[in-house]
């Protein structure tokens, strides 16, 4: 693939996806992980928009970053915020 602005942007988005996923998995604070997961979902929506899937970008932004995150937050408030030792 010839280096172009679009390709570079894709590489950047994909590396950010990897970073946020790893951070979301490794953080000990559950609230932080959920927020990172929300950021991951938003980046994913951007990535899908880059791949010419606007329907899915819209859905992922509403469902993945919106509803799923809120469900996670509710679950955390109903349980506990930190991981146990």
């Amino acid at each position: 693939m010839e280096p172009s602005f679009g390709a570079l942007l894709n590489v950047l988005l994909l590396s950010l996806l990897l970073v946020t996923a790893l951070l979301a998995v490794s953080s000990r604070d559950l609230l932080a992980s959920v927020i990172l997961f929300s950021a991951y979902s938003l980046l994913m929506a951007l990535m899908w928009q880059r791949l010419q899937a606007p329907d899915l970008a819209l859905t992922e932004a509403a469902v993945g970053a919106g509803i799923t995150t809120v469900l996670f937050l509710v679950a955390i408030f109903r349980t506990r915020r930190r991981e146990e030792e």
Binding site: I67, V70, A75
Partner: protein, 249 residues
């Protein structure tokens, strides 16, 4: 020891998957099997056959309608599952963490949310009804409505939002997606075609485009309302506190 084995397993799986990926057809080439086999027909004919300018909507509602019937059944099933696990909230005795935390949200937030939510609902209606021509559709719009209710709930508390969207309304609309879809499917059989046929053979050719369009809109609205209500009900069931009839601390 167990951790090491698991890590090795995941690492080996990653290497295998990367190897498989390296053997796959190169991404984005127009000569790939995915680009040459089934898809050309969708791209070229969906406007004439499914009467949807947005090809994704055409595929979802029309060509692969049964998957979407399955999809709305999945989300209805998720609601039934959550209710089977947590139980439905009861009227007049609901409380949630917003009230329990004792910290009211700030005036700015409350005003903003109260102002914005009607516009979000308006936008989502647009998304639902324009699904056939622009990106969006029933489920996306339903999700946006659900999200707006969720914002409202997190700011104003469960009690007020369950006054705005009473249990009776939700309970009546939750199954609407499945019911609409099934009735449209049966109508396809009665119209002389197969289950989920939109262009009924018994209707004259000239009326068929309008029929397909209207049935698509009907299904989209059903999915939108059903999806939104299911999301709101799932959230309410999860927010509800057990033993909430005790006095507030």
């Amino acid at each position: 020891m167990k951790r090491l084995v698991s890590l090795l397993f995941i690492g080996a799986l990653a290497l295998l998957l990367l190897y498989v990926v390296s053997k796959m057809p190169p991404m984005g080439e127009p000569t790939n099997p995915t680009m040459t086999h089934v898809v050309p027909r969708y791209l070229e004919k969906s406007e004439g056959e499914a009467h949807a300018r947005n090809v994704v909507t055409g595929v979802i509602i029309n060509y692969r309608g049964f998957d979407t019937l399955g999809e709305v059944t999945v989300i209805y099933c998720a609601l039934a599952a959550v209710l089977a696990v947590l139980g439905r909230e009861k009227r007049g005795r609901i409380r949630d963490y917003v009230e329990l935390s004792g910290i009211p949200s700030s005036v700015i937030v409350r005003t903003m949310v109260a102002l914005v939510v009607p516009f979000i609902v308006l936008f989502s209606l647009y998304v639902i009804l324009h699904g056939e021509m622009s990106p969006g559709g029933g489920f996306q719009g339903g999700a946006v409505i659900g999200a707006s209710m969720i914002i409202f709930t997190t700011v104003f508390g469960l009690h007020l939002s369950s006054v705005k969207v009473p249990l009776k309304v939700r309970a009546a609309l939750e199954g609407s997606a499945v019911i609409t879809f099934f009735l449209v499917g049966i109508a396809g059989i009665l119209g002389g075609g197969n289950f989920l046929a939109y262009a009924w053979p018994r209707v004259s050719q000239s009326l068929q485009p309008a029929l397909v369009t209207w049935l698509t809109v009907l299904v989209e609205v059903g999915i939108g309302l059903g999806g939104a209500m299911v999301f709101v009900s799932i959230l309410f069931a999860m927010v509800r506190e057990e033993g909430a009839d005790e006095p507030l601390a």
